[in-house]
């Protein structure tokens, strides 16, 4: 198995491009999500992204506010108890971002169908609603018959819906821990991460911890993303901040609210990018931005016991630095 560790900046350089169909996950508003990867995409000024995501998150909120994406396909656009996502609202209500609505099951099923190479996915939900009849991508046809076309069951003649499958160019998936080759363990709900990891053409992991492969071989049933489908692994503790990572850290209530408030205006968004993206390059500086005491507080939470069985296998920062030097991306001499 190859060592696929990569730095955050190089990963964004190598795996993203303007105008691409990009997916992130799990992509729930409060939970596990590849947010630091999104911050780096903002820093590198990616644009015209067609964003595929299960549900809104602060990454989606940021991309909409900062003009990184112009199309989104998702099931949900809010931040749950944190309220409406202000960046999303502004962008959608002004028409800067076109938001195509699906539902939480249909997004996972579209990943499933993409992963299986299916032409379409049958659905017993979404039909009969405006999720079927209205397409933001095809605003001039109502009722729209091509977004979720009807399909006849060959066994009974009954009418159902056919969801289009999706195969994003790249999925960046937040995981709790991974070995250097990309065998990944996800604590907490997977949402659609299992299916998304198979639907995407390239998969990059953003992981809170690097663990020894001995941990992976002790718990192979926990490895829901095997290295055979993973292209690169970015070690980045607290990478889902200000959202939570089950077993590792809580969502940061203050920053969730601050971020959402700032993303509610162009000036606020500019300030957010200045203060929370341009203010750091290294992981050490990132942690300073989060706040060391704050990070400690977030990491001391009601789920900490879930990480206990794996702690002895977690690699230190020093070990990760050494491992990074042995990565195939370093060996190949690709630019930093």
């Amino acid at each position: 198995m190859q060592n696929k560790l990569i730095s955050l900046s190089k990963a964004v350089e190598m795996f993203t491009r303007d105008g691409m169909m990009y997916a992130s996950g799990a992509g729930l508003p409060v939970g596990s999500e590849s947010i630091v990867f999104g911050r780096e995409m903002v820093r590198q000024k990616r644009k015209n992204i067609h964003y595929i995501v299960h549900s809104c998150s602060q990454q989606v909120n940021l991309f909409c506010a900062a003009g990184v994406c112009d199309k989104v396909e998702a099931a949900f656009s809010g931040l749950e108890v944190y309220g409406f996502a202000n960046g999303v609202r502004r962008a959608v209500e002004t028409g800067r971002v076109i938001w195509e609505d699906w539902s939480n099951l249909s997004m996972s099923l579209r990943f499933l169908g993409g992963a299986l190479g299916w032409p379409f996915v049958p659905t017993t939900a979404n039909i009969g609603s405006d999720i079927q009849h209205k397409s933001a991508f095809q605003p001039d046809t109502f009722p729209c018959t091509t977004k979720i076309p009807e399909i006849t069951d060959p066994f009974t003649g009954k009418i159902y819906g056919a969801l289009p499958v999706v195969k994003p160019e790249l999925a960046v998936i937040h995981v709790t821990m991974s070995d250097v080759s990309g065998n990944a363990i996800l604590l907490g709900t997977e949402w659609g991460r299992f299916e998304l990891a198979r639907a995407a053409q390239k998969v990059v992991l953003q992981t809170d911890y690097i663990v020894d492969t001995a941990c992976i071989r002790q718990y192979p049933n926990l490895v829901r993303i095997p290295e055979v489908i993973v292209d690169a692994v970015i070690p980045w503790q607290l990478g889902a901040w200000p959202q939570c990572s089950v077993g590792v850290y809580d969502s940061d209530e203050d920053h969730m609210n601050t971020m959402n408030r700032l993303l509610g205006s162009d000036e606020g968004c500019a300030k957010y990018i200045e203060d929370y993206i341009h203010s750091w390059r290294t992981h050490d500086d990132f942690i300073k931005v989060v706040g060391k005491a704050n990070a400690q507080k977030l990491m001391n939470n009601v789920t900490s016991h879930l990480l206990a069985p794996y702690r002895s296998w977690i690699k230190s920062d020093g070990e990760i630095t050494e491992l990074m030097e042995q990565s195939l991306f370093e060996k190949k001499g690709s630019k930093t």
């Binding site: 729930l28 749950e80 409406f84 938001w99 939480n104 209530e253």
Partner: protein, 260 residues
Amino acid sequence: MNYSKQEMMAVATGREICDGDLCIFGVGLSMLAGYFAIAHHAPNARAITEGGIYGSTPVGGLPWGIEDNRISANATCFTGAIDALGFLVASGRCDIGIIGAAQVDKYGNVNTTGFWDKDSREHRSHPRVRLNGSGGANEIGCGCKRVVIMAAHEKKRFAERVDYITTPGYLEGGAARERYHFVGGGPSAIITTLGILRPEPVTKEFMLDSYFSFSSIEEMKQQTGWNLKIFPDAKAVPEPLTRELEILRSIDSTGMLKKK
């Protein structure tokens, strides 16, 4: 009155849950109602989340989201969305789902997607107000045996026809759901800040079933955007009991919802 309107809504919603039910809640008020019911009168009801969290009870206050640490701390199983929303909800195995509505119409169709300037659903441009979209509500509306809708009872939110059908209720009423072979039974109640509406058995038009003691039939009619019919036996909803309020408040231990 020693309780808030929101508390009355939560208690009334909780009363819809029966012991042994397999339940799915959203966050906030609907989750409060659900865990209240489990603690109060439905000890064998089992709650799942859309993303596949099983067997858990919130720790440290109501969760910020249906995937956060408060709802993950003592789970017995974590899977994914296809498991929870597909195998259990869309397939028809869930007894009851509780969803919120920003707008609801007389056939129990729910809009949580957006408001448009034009009256018609044939809006061809982006919304004037973007709301949250479906999440898993659409699957809950299609698949759960019973669906309870929670909504603030204001005229603009109780419309003859919603701007956008995010979650199907009875669509155009009557047997309109049959065309789609939904396994779920459709909405069984709309619980509002003023009272409870239930569907007429044949037409599926929602009618006034009962009103909260601080409200009235008249107020509910005034705040409804269609000509709200009244069930002949319409009556007041029993006020929350002391024990109901105690349990309700112990679940919202951080007072997340009391602030509202």
